[in-house]
């Protein structure tokens, strides 16, 4: 456990110091603030409950900001191979599973930092207009249930998939998936939009809104109807759990493969 946390801490510090993460996050988040239109949080009337305001901000930032996290983590494991430091890392006393898990946790934490910062800045800028200190509390809740699960899922796939798909192909598929699986209306083409699997946080945001309206497409009829329960607190919790578990699937597969490879090569190393 100590080794896992040590790797996670190092990974977090390394990723969080990358200028490109912050610049990309600011550009993507800034674009959303500018282009949010009439349905955005700035258009919500004064007196709107704080949880609704922060849910709308969290959903708005979830539309594009996870792209930066996916792009950042896409070449993380591939880079170890390309720079040929993998054999060096294998000589360390830390096992491959702890190394992989630490990179995942550190990566999620580092990517969560700009997401959290964006929500807190949004809450602070809303304070003079709405005079509700609860905005800060709901910003944290919205981060935990809307933003963070999506980052966990994106990080799992972004770390593992490029190792067998190649980084450029992963980036293409990731952008295409993000549009198809989160924002493309199910009526337009069969898609995963509106299911509990959407990492954009549709179900959790709908639950936070609490107004009976869906945030985007949560529960809209379409492909795989069993993944489209009616939006509620329970379905929001289910969605958060499913999204996090989905992110752990590629990580588990990669950890098993790494563990097996280490066991197979161990006698030769000895």
């Amino acid at each position: 456990m100590t080794a896992l946390l040590a790797v996670a801490r190092y990974e977090f510090r390394m990723q969080a110091r990358k200028r490109s993460l912050w610049i990309a996050a600011v550009l993507l988040g800034g674009t959303l603030v500018v282009l949010q239109g009439d349905r955005g949080p700035r258009s919500l009337p004064v007196g709107t409950p704080a949880r609704e305001v922060m849910a709308t901000w969290a959903l708005l930032f979830s539309i594009l900001m996870p792209l930066a996290y996916g792009m950042l983590l896409a070449d993380r494991l591939v880079r170890d191979r390309r720079l040929r430091v993998e054999p060096l890392l294998e000589s360390l006393p830390v096992g491959p599973v702890a190394r992989l898990g630490g990179k995942y946790l550190g990566g999620v934490a580092a990517c969560g930092l700009p997401g959290l910062a964006a929500l807190l800045v949004a809450a602070v800028t809303e304070l003079p207009k709405r005079h509700d200190p609860a905005l800060l509390g709901w910003a944290l809740v919205a981060f935990a249930v809307v933003t963070l699960p999506g980052i966990a899922m994106v990080a799992g796939f972004a770390l593992v998939c490029p190792t067998f798909l190649s980084v450029p192909l992963f980036r293409v598929l990731f952008v295409g998936y993000w549009f198809w699986g989160n924002m493309l209306a199910p009526a337009f083409l069969p898609s995963l939009t509106g299911t509990v699997l959407t990492p954009i946080g549709d179900y959790a945001a709908t639950w936070l809104l609490g107004s009976g309206q869906t945030a985007l497409f949560a529960g809209t009829p379409g492909l795989l109807p069993f993944l489209r329960p009616d939006p509620s607190g329970a379905s929001a919790a289910l969605s958060v759990a499913v999204i996090v578990l989905c992110g752990l699937i590629p990580m588990t597969a990669a950890a098993l493969a790494a563990h097996r490879a280490t066991r197979q090569t161990w006698p030769a190393k000895a």
Binding site: K18, R19, S20, L21, I23, A24, L27, L28, T31, L35, I63, L64, L67, A68, M71, L72, A74, D75, R79, R82, S166, V167, P168, L169, R171, V172, L173, F174, V175, G176, W178, F179, M183, L189, P190
Partner: protein, 227 residues
């Protein structure tokens, strides 16, 4: 000798990079086939095939182009050679362009033979994919050359691509129309289509010229963040 150096640069660009556009197109075609076979309709499958040609192919070319510009493990060694760095990167991007053109032509011909209509037909169909691919790839190459960061460049390419998909109605307005990559799949090939394609081609050429100007001073590329 000339062929040898082009083949060498194709290898240096990397098979993984050059396989991305055909793989993305193949996946799109497979999903379209699934949609057709599942009874969702010929029109939906055609719409997806067109999106593959006009949206997915340019995105994949752009992602590979930025990888080619940013990733060069022997850049210092290369700068000591008499061959211009600009010429080397240009050859690699040329190989990418040629392989993408071949893939898109095969894809469009296959779709046409299967009874799908992708764009205005004839030689003009070339512009369905060539214009957005040139613009987006040139934009990716320019940003990659300026920032030397694959993360930043790929995020910006993704931003442009997704923003034009999400806020398509904004980009259809006359002021932004020359920048709209998905005119065929979102509006059609009627009035304004040709002007949009010419605008994209012209913009792409300007971006390529700007990229060449930046790459003309390759020593600036020695401090990339992701190396």
């Amino acid at each position: 000798m000339r062929l040898t150096i082009w083949l060498h640069e194709a290898r240096r660009a990397g098979p993984a990079a050059l396989l991305a556009p055909p793989a993305a197109l193949l996946l799109t075609a497979a999903i379209a086939m699934f949609i057709q076979l599942s009874g969702a309709g010929h029109e939906r499958a055609e719409r997806l095939l067109l999106a593959g040609l006009e949206a997915v192919a340019p995105l994949s070319v752009a992602m590979v182009a930025l990888t080619i510009v940013v990733r060069e493990t022997c850049r210092e060694l290369h700068l000591s050679l008499p061959t211009l760095h600009l010429a080397t990167i240009g050859r690699r991007l040329g190989v990418l362009g040629a392989s993408t053109a071949a893939c898109c032509l095969i894809y469009a011909a296959g779709a046409w033979l299967a009874g799908y209509r992708l764009g205005p037909g004839g030689a003009a169909t070339l512009l369905v994919w060539a214009a957005p691919a040139l613009w987006l790839a040139a934009f990716a190459a320019l940003v990659a050359a300026v920032t030397r960061s694959a993360v930043l460049t790929s995020s910006l390419v993704a931003l442009i691509w997704l923003a034009e998909q999400i806020w398509a109605t904004v980009f259809v307005t006359p002021a932004l129309r020359p920048l709209f990559l998905f005119f065929t799949s979102r509006v059609g090939d009627g009035p304004g289509w040709a002007a949009n394609r010419i605008g994209l081609l012209a913009g792409g050429l300007v971006l390529l010229a700007a990229t060449a100007a930046v790459l003309h001073r390759p020593e600036r590329l020695l401090t990339e963040e992701d190396a």
